[in-house]
Amino acid sequence: MPQQTETEYKEILRQYLENQSEQNLYMGEAFSRKLIEKDISPEEVISIHKSALKDVLPGLPSKVWHSFDFLIEMMIRYGLALKEHQSLVKRQEEMQLEMEVASKVQETLLKTKIPVVEGMDLGYVTVPSRTMSGDYIYFVGNDMDEAGVAVADVMGKGIPAALCMSMVKFGMDSVQHSSEGPSGVLSVINRIVEKSVNDSMFVTMMYGRYDAKSSTFSYASAGHEPALHYVASENRFVELDAKGLLLGVSPDARYEEGSVALERGDFIAIMTDGVTEARTPEGFVEKDTILEIISSVKDRPAQEMAEHVFAELDRMQGFRLQDDFSLVILKKE
């Protein structure tokens, strides 16, 4: 231990013993910061104290000196606990950094382009509750008269969900044509997920396809949250659900397909349970409340609608999402 540290400590201690002023204590506090910076362990501090005291108050009885040795013994494990803590903090910082890099990689992986289709307005929001997301939104389209939209939700959160989700992404890459029917798309993805993801992982997914020529929206669901169809002429919401097993449960799962005709002003909302199971300190947000929020902005462009619903639900949850949040609005102009 550096001689200088001991000399400084002795001086501060001597002054304190003489005056016992707050100023002396403040100097002591400042000095302890220096000791921590120099990585001097608690047991060493007591050893410094003991040898300083030997100079300042030499005449103490021998039992007092022995008591310091006892105190040193007491402090060894505190020193070890401190070191362990420091090393765990460092490891956590490294992991945090890795997570940030991983989330950037995921962002790139998840990039999707909204297709431009005559007479249809598309908008979406997807926000992870932690660094990594287990939700997935992907668009397919020919930029003419067809668009496909996939919304998937991996149960669970964080890294495991994100890894599993990249499987869905690679599956979707094989679905290049927007003319592919919803139940066919789900069958393909199901086989991929079933092969490559372990049994404890479950994925729900909805795939919808809009055909501008006939103004119809067809859809299939793998155990996913029902979509909502806002029927403008009747000013009401209709749930769109179709039978189908979660992805990855059975390789032979079949997916029922449904379809609806869209009129001007109608829109479809596809979401994950981060929307429908939003929680506030008072409990779940009522379904009616969510419908009210959505219909309050029904005349705005699709992107603004999605952003508004997110902002409202985020605010209601105290800006701390409980689950990954994803919402797609597909609106007939």
Binding site: E43, E44, S47, K50, D69, I72, E73, I76, R77, Y78, G79, L80, A81, L82, K83, E84, H85, S87, L88, R91
Partner: protein, 133 residues
């Protein structure tokens, strides 16, 4: 090779005897109070592991003198089940430690050199060395 002496570990009280031996030898080498306390804490930890996980074994203490360097070696050996995953045992925050700063990483921190030889079903030998500065 320097002077070597040993204590057999069968009961919890043998841990005290091992500490005593270690402290005496550390004093003879010339270690100060803080390092004596570190060396005996390392002995406690290793002896306790023998007592808890192997049932029986021994702690040997050796005074070292290499060139101009003086030091002390603790050799903890047993014929217990062996350590299945040494890497895991050396991780901070694993099992016995749980934030108490103990366990193998603790012993490694208290000493300068640390070495584990273990074989499943045959036993474990841990050598930890501290040098006088």
């Amino acid at each position: 090779m320097g002077y070597r002496s040993s204590v057999d570990i069968h009961t919890e009280w043998d841990i005290v005897a091992a500490r005593q031996l270690g402290r005496n030898e550390a004093k003879k080498v010339g270690f100060g109070t803080v390092d004596q306390a570190r060396i005996t804490t390392a002995i406690s930890e290793l002896a306790r592991n023998i007592y808890l996980y192997a049932g029986a074994g021994k702690i040997e203490i050796e005074r070292l003198n290499e060139n101009d360097l003086f030091g002390i070696a603790i050799i903890a050996s047993d014929e217990g089940p062996g350590i299945p995953d040494v890497r895991k045992v050396m991780e901070d925050g694993y099992s016995t430690s749980g934030g108490l700063g103990a366990g193998m990483p603790g012993v490694k921190r208290l000493m300068d050199d640390f070495r584990v030889d273990t074989e499943k079903g045959k036993g474990t030998k841990i050598t930890a060395v501290k040098w006088l500065r």
